[in-house]
């Protein structure tokens, strides 16, 4: 941050003030686009990785030469994020990439931004404002994918538990609905317990430990987040580890690849932190005029016990809470980025290629 950036801002500001602002956007193609990330909560690993990836993207081509980026966190405080948003409008940024504190709470200020010609790209906790572009995954599909995996592994019959997420959010609701739609297809599968893990390993472990004593043998686990915590509670209770569908925590993936004598048969599906990079790319291309203004849904990156690969999709030296899906893998990968970007926001070697779905 500091001096240089501020001086840049001053210069741009003065230039803007001096230049007739009514010039069409194309005429100003020589200058960099100003794109800001407005993030709400920054208190968990996922968000930190998400923001690190955004920062690293800004350091890599083509973004480094085309974009002047900035980022802001407001915590889970809608009014603060709204106030920051209005300050971004005042700063006359070209686009705002948004992970919102509330799907609806910012709709009013978003409309003000888009009315002024500012592009708003919302991801992860997407907003309902119609004028904002949305980049997300299909959370219903998340729920289904995991549940289908578990159903198949246990032969469509048995006791499963559901460890849900933060109540009152779209993500939680949709994931649960997805899972329920699968259970409905398998009458012999019984959901014997359902409790929240708050997408947090410690909470999931605590709540699982509390629930287990009263539960019959469990044949399958469906978990939205904090999966490694759930498994740790099973181990502590001396239970055998059943087929598990869970999130992309490194800790869970360690179990998938065989961890301290425990091998779990499971699937790890991640809400990818690189949504921020895809949103940035979408903003860049829309501003440049070579991509239509449309919402994007990207497929979930996932691995199973069979496909998990050390150093690529699981990292034995990194903490359990690290989200191992910071990069996509495979031939159809949307974003491929190095681990340093996720850890420290550093630039990776070479250009950053983001493969948006065909326009």
């Amino acid at each position: 941050m500091s001096v240089i950036r501020r001086r840049d801002l001053i210069c741009t500001g003065l230039a803007l003030a001096a230049a007739p602002t009514l010039l069409p956007r194309r005429a100003r193609a020589a200058r960099k686009f100003k794109i800001a990330l407005s993030n709400s909560y920054i208190g968990n690993k996922w968000r930190i990785e998400m923001e690190n990836l955004f920062k690293s993207a800004l350091l890599m081509e083509p973004f480094a030469s085309e974009i002047e980026g900035s980022w802001f966190n407001s915590g889970n405080d809608v009014s603060k994020q709204s106030q920051q948003f209005s300050n971004l409008i005042a700063e006359r940024v070209d686009a705002i990439v948004l992970n919102a504190a509330s799907p609806t709470g910012l709709n009013g200020i978003i409309k003000q931004a888009t009315d002024r010609g500012i592009l708003v790209v919302s991801f992860d906790n997407v907003v309902t404002a119609p004028s904002a572009l949305k980049v997300n995954t299909d959370q219903f599909a998340f729920g289904r994918m995991g549940a289908e995996f578990v159903a198949k592994k246990i032969g469509g019959k048995g006791n499963v538990i559901m460890v849900t997420g933060v109540a009152g959010t779209h993500v939680d609701l949709d994931r649960n609905k997805g899972a329920e739609s699968v259970w409905a297809e398998h009458p012999d599968i019984k959901v014997v317990s359902r409790y929240t893990g708050m997408w947090d390993s410690a909470t999931a472990e605590r709540n699982t430990a509390a629930a287990l004593p009263s539960l019959p043998p469990i044949d399958g686990i469906w978990c939205q987040g904090g999966t490694d915590g759930v498994l740790k509670a099973f181990i502590a209770a001396g239970r055998k580890l059943p087929p598990t569908a869970g999130e992309a925590e490194n800790g869970f993936r360690k179990f998938l690849s065989g961890y301290m004598g425990h091998q779990v048969d499971g699937i790890s599906i991640g809400q990818p932190p690189f949504l921020s990079v895809i949103s940035l790319e979408l903003a860049r291309r829309v501003l440049k005029g070579d991509y239509p203004k449309k919402d994007i849904t990207i497929p979930f990156p996932y691995v199973t016990s069979e496909t998990v690969k050390t150093g690529e999709t699981v990292f034995p030296d990194l903490p359990d809470s690290f989200f191992a899906d910071f990069t996509d893998a495979g031939p159809h990968a949307t974003v491929k980025i190095c681990v340093d970007a996720a850890l420290d926001g550093k630039a990776c070697a070479g250009r950053l290629a983001v493969d948006l779905p065909a326009a």
Partner: protein, 328 residues
């Protein structure tokens, strides 16, 4: 022997020390903000910035006033966030689209808020329970109710309602700010307001003077609920939709606003106007940190540091002025 009687001005200053401090703080904050804005943007903040700041602060201003009223009785109302959630959720669903339904629904929502406040008050006053415990419990209950009413963010607030409460074209919402200050002034000069302050000063002494602590607490919590529900309406209006969880943040930020506003959490001292100004100071802090381009990771650190400094300074100045007055 006869001490010189102080001039009315200095006397008023002594009585409203907290208010004077927060007003000064606000002026300083606005100046710093404008200066930073000028440096970074090459122009001064104008109509949009003023309007956005005022509109954005409205819910917090209301929440702060609601909190101040209870704080003056030496109570801590944690359920304010829950009431805002519920009122916000109800507004998103039931405001309707015509003027009549909007008025009726708004009035009913405000009444509901007052009712919830009354429940808090009854538990505190009759149950003789710790306000912090009572309202921690009712906070969870109100939040649960809100999620039940609006399980996922959505609903809609008509544009006309938004235009009326938080018009984005011009800072008309300043009228509501003035109305809130007037509301406080009326309360402060009424029997009920004096009773609020009195029981916050010393409940036993107030009771010895014939003030009914039970009735006074009922009034305080009911008013707090009513005003918190108003915050929910403003929140819904500015978001143009509802979210049953967005009110949660106001539980804590309103404490910040109230403390900055010179209202003692230990009761009996301060003014609702101070709390409202305190809400605007918190908004200005967000603005200042934004335009100072503080690294976002350190933003909360600076916010915290600023708060500590502001509170320590206010306390220090208060003590200095007090000591000087006692000595002369």
């Amino acid at each position: 022997m006869t001490p010189p009687r102080r001039a009315p001005l200095s006397q008023a200053l002594a009585r409203h020390l907290g208010l004077a401090l927060v007003a000064t703080l606000l002026v300083i904050a606005v100046i710093v903000y404008a200066a930073l804005y000028l440096v970074t943007q090459g122009r001064l903040p104008g109509g949009f910035e003023l309007t956005a700041s005022v509109n954005n602060t409205m819910p917090l201003a209301l929440a702060a006033l609601a909190r101040a009223i209870v704080a003056l009785t030496r109570g801590l109302d944690l359920s304010i966030g829950g009431i805002i959630d519920l009122s916000n959720a109800l507004a998103a669903l039931y405001l309707g689209t015509n003027a009549a339904s909007m008025i009726v629904a708004s009035a009913l929502i405000l009444l509901a808020g007052a009712g919830l406040g009354l429940i808090n008050g009854a538990l505190v006053a009759y149950g003789r329970l710790q306000p912090i415990l009572v309202t921690l419990a009712t906070l969870a209950i109100f939040q649960g109710l809100a999620i039940r009413v609006l399980p996922q963010p959505g609903g809609a607030v008509p544009e006309s309602y938004t235009a009326l409460l938080v018009n984005t074209g011009a800072p008309y919402a300043l009228i509501y700010v003035l109305a809130l200050m007037l509301l406080w002034t009326v309360l402060r000069r009424s029997q009920a307001g004096i009773a609020l302050l009195a029981i916050g000063n010393d409940e036993a002494a107030a009771a010895a003077n014939g003030i009914d602590p039970v009735a006074t607490k009922l009034v305080a919590y009911t008013l707090s609920g009513l005003i918190a529900a108003g915050a929910g309406l403003f929140l819904a209006a500015s978001a143009t939709a509802g979210d049953a969880t967005t009110g949660n943040g106001y539980t804590l930020t309103s404490i910040v606003a109230v403390v900055l506003g010179g209202v003692s959490l230990f009761g009996g001292r301060g003014s609702g106007i101070g709390a409202i100004l305190g809400a605007f100071v918190t908004t200005m802090i967000v603005n200042i940190l934004f335009f100072a381009h503080i690294d976002p990771l350190y933003q909360s650190f600076y916010e915290g540091a600023f708060l500590v400094i502001a509170v320590v300074l206010a306390e220090g100045i208060g003590r200095l002025v007090r000591r000087r007055r006692v000595q002369t």
